[in-house]
């Protein structure tokens, strides 16, 4: 069971993030493929055949300073890791 109460302030903090941090991208499965998507954006920045290829492309974005971080998701929709 949770160790802390999920109060309205915490729910509000999570909801605030829904506005989207445009400096981050997400690596998300789409059917059998993987995409990179800017947080809060509507279109994929790129579509890849494997998660590894999508992660490499996301790392390249970060190295070039286009984005601050990449959140790599698993096929369940959860988070595997964040690359900074």
């Amino acid at each position: 069971m949770p160790v802390k109460t999920i109060n309205q302030d915490i729910i509000h903090s999570i909801a605030k993030l829904a506005k989207g941090d445009g400096s981050r991208v997400h690596v998300i499965s789409r059917g059998a493929k993987w995409i990179i998507k800017r947080e809060g954006g509507s279109r994929a920045l790129g579509i890849y055949t494997t998660q590894g290829k999508a992660v490499s492309a996301a790392q390249s974005y970060i190295q070039k300073g286009k984005y601050r971080a990449a959140v790599v998701h698993n096929v369940e929709g959860g988070v595997d890791r964040t690359i900074i």
Partner: protein, 205 residues
Amino acid sequence: MPFETNVFINCPFDKEYLPLLRPLLFTILYFDLNPQISETRDGGTVRVENIKQLIRQSKYSIHDLSRSGSMLAGEYPRFNMPFELGLDIGCKVYGDKKRQSKVCLILEQTPYQYQRVLSDIAGQDISHHNNDKQKLILVTRNWFSRISGKSLDGPTKIWENYNEFSDNMQHVLSLQGLSNDDINELPFTEFIKIARQWLNTRKGI
């Protein structure tokens, strides 16, 4: 919550089903509907009364029978979910005019899985999800589009929003000192509150 927007959810509550249940709840909330789910897991009169109440007050129902069969050799099948489906159909058939407008979606893991052993459900709206979250979102979204006649966002957009939401929720709750197990075991009522408010912000409501 009004009858017209309530969706009764009849599904397993075990850890194995959680990766499917959360995207399902998120999809229902995405369309401004209200998931009605029983947190009472123990058997007996109280649970059945609670379920009957949820069925009575919901125009829509989603019955996922994909885990009703025996999971292990020698194990008895789980009859709760087919039983609750029967209660729901009974409510529609024998209920007042309002209840006769009820509509339900029956989900199974593979095509015709249930029609083989429960032939009386033929003629109902039945879809399969192959235990795949994206497929589950797709069939739920398409069912609601069909019965509502509304033009709705596509399943891919919902799935991608769900991924971002999962990250945002995990990030904040981890900072609050919750472990991954704590987050995975959040009661559905709390998950629903968090997801609803997140979606309202994303949609600018």
